[in-house]
């Protein structure tokens, strides 16, 4: 193949892309649809349930204040600290619950694997930016709020290329 033919072929390959759909996620308007309601773990079988590893969800009625999530995080990011909670339940005699610093969390999900009481899951919420460092620290009260996410863009593939719906 001569030089001229090669260059024309290369240019042609680019020109063909004028007819190909644009493969760009227009992010704040479009958000990618994620699998399930977030990463969960089933201690009975010892296997996790597929899902996005985003901001945590804490179920106050399951948490016993056993510290295991905090111990697991000590070797990873030291993001989880146990804090006193004012109201006490029968199952949480220590009245402590995890508080997570998202300035440190690496979203590995090993704290979820460590929880034997189905109290800590991860959710699809990944928009956690804050103007202050204190804003990144989520208290147990903030962690029990179910995130309101609207994610519906999916990769669609047809003859003219792939798009985000």
């Amino acid at each position: 193949m001569g030089t001229a033919t090669g260059i024309i072929k290369a240019l042609n390959s680019g020109v063909k892309h004028l007819a190909v759909k644009r493969f760009t996620l227009r992010y704040p308007e479009q958000k990618l649809k994620l699998v399930g309601d977030g990463y969960q773990f089933d201690p009975a079988t010892g296997v996790g349930i597929a899902g996005y590893k985003g901001r945590h969800m804490l179920f106050h009625d399951h948490c016993t204040g056993c510290n295991l999530c905090s111990i697991a995080c000590e070797g990873v990011a030291e993001a989880i600290g146990m804090v006193k909670v004012p109201n006490t339940w029968k199952h949480n005699k220590k009245a402590i619950m995890p508080q997570i610093d998202y300035g440190k969390c690496v979203f590995c999900g090993l704290c979820v694997d460590a929880c034997p009481f189905y109290a800590l899951y991860m959710s699809n919420d990944y928009e956690l930016s804050s103007f202050t460092k204190e804003g990144l620290i989520y208290t147990p009260q903030q962690l029990q709020v179910k995130p309101n996410v609207q994610q519906d863009a999916e990769i669609q593939i047809d003859d003219r290329g792939a798009t985000h719906g």
Partner: protein, 386 residues
């Protein structure tokens, strides 16, 4: 008249420093460590006019002490930080560690988990290679080759995100299998996107690999003969581009690579062009492997053998396992002394093996060819520095 700057030649310099002898012809250039053309690494290049007389790579700028960190954490908590050296290829860098710990602790892995791991590792290889290809393109001045791989990489990242729950640092492999089963209906989505991905990367041939401008730039630059490739101890794409048929997936198959038909891509030229083409051919091969693995994978079953909370090695024991990562053979040497924490974890990454070839390849090249030769080594500074 310029004033002569007084130099105190008698003053003793601190140990390790020496005054550079000024030569009329030879000039020393520091490329990096914050220069985008070198990655996070310094290359000390000495040039005579436009020709490189001597090149001295100086890695270590992004050293993080991963090996030391591994000594104070237990076998499970080591997982998130051991994948940090190559976040774009996190499954493959974690693979030898996980295989090694399984040998140490003595646990069996379910059949389905082995296939899931192979799929995740091959998807991750594509993610890494696309990223590398984008960088290789932009440093050769081919900005289309930066945009296309960076965009098509999204298809593979999307699949990994569905599998593992994270886009880059997955923390997915664990001694005993994988953290979670693949989601329902994943096989269909995976097959569709992998097929489209393969069709897309085949289009790179016209615009990049068969492009006469790229060939003029990379052919016959930085030629590494097959004897030298073996002598210097290079691995992966650098070794295979010099005509040596060596792939850990074929020569020392781990998990289920034995049951899959893996073709090793070998080119004979040993120049920058061959070294840049091998990873692209490997991506096409990865698509084949993923399709085979999806077909042969058991449709149901466990994906993880339950571990005790603090797994320990049995007494004084050591194990060395290696896998074929995106940059060559990546190995981990784990020594246990019966405690929950490993006594020593030695990471042996492919990048570091390939860097040694750089001074030999750059000698006599034009300075303008430096990015073409350097990036063709498939070198990832963060991995080499650990």
């Amino acid at each position: 008249m310029t004033e002569q700057i007084p130099t105190d030649q008698t003053k003793e310099l601190p140990p390790g420093l020496q005054l550079e002898k000024v030569d009329d012809r030879i000039m020393t250039l520091n490329v990096g460590p914050q220069h985008p053309g070198s990655g996070h690494m310094r290359i000390i290049v000495r040039i005579d006019g436009d020709y490189i007389v001597d090149a001295d790579p100086d890695p270590g700028y992004v050293h993080r002490g991963e090996e030391k960190m591994a000594e104070v954490r237990n076998y499970l908590l080591n997982i998130p930080h051991l994948e940090r050296p190559v976040i774009h290829d996190s499954c493959n860098i974690l693979y030898p560690y996980v295989l090694g710990v399984e040998d140490l602790v003595g646990i069996e892995v379910p059949e389905r988990a082995k296939y899931v791991r192979v799929i995740a590792a091959e998807l991750n290889r594509c993610v890494y290679t696309q990223y590398w290809l984008a960088i290789y393109g932009i440093f050769l001045g081919h900005s289309t080759m930066f945009m296309w791989p960076a965009g098509d990489r999204e298809l593979m990242i999307d699949l990994l995100e569905k599998m593992t729950g994270a886009r880059v640092t997955h923390s997915y492999f664990i001694p005993g299998g994988v953290r979670n089963d693949i989601p329902a209906n994943f096989e269909d989505v995976c097959l569709r996107q992998v097929n489209y991905f393969e069709k897309r990367i085949k289009e790179y041939a016209d615009i990049f690999y068969d492009n006469p401008i790229l060939k003029a730039r990379t052919e016959d630059t930085g030629v590494l003969s097959s004897q030298d490739a073996i002598r210097l101890g290079t691995t992966g794409s650098v070794l295979r581009a010099s005509g040596i048929d060596y792939d850990v997936r074929v020569k020392e198959p781990y998990d289920v690579y034995e049951e899959l038909d893996v073709h090793t891509n070998v080119l004979k030229d040993g120049d920058s062009y061959a070294r840049s083409k091998i990873p692209w051919l490997d991506m096409l091969e990865s698509c084949n492997i993923i399709r085979q693995a999806l077909e042969k994978m058991p449709k149901s079953g466990s994906v993880r053998t339950k571990l005790k909370p603090n797994p320990k090695g049995v007494g004084n024991d050591e194990v060395y396992r290696r896998v074929e990562s995106g940059r060559g053979a990546a190995g981990m040497h784990i020594i246990s002394n019966g405690k929950p924490e490993p006594y020593r974890v030695k990471i042996s990454p492919g990048s570091f093996r390939n860097l040694i070839a750089l001074p030999y390849l750059l000698k006599g090249e034009k300075l303008g060819n430096m990015p073409a030769v350097y990036w063709s080594l498939n070198y990832w500074p963060v991995e080499a520095d650990r």
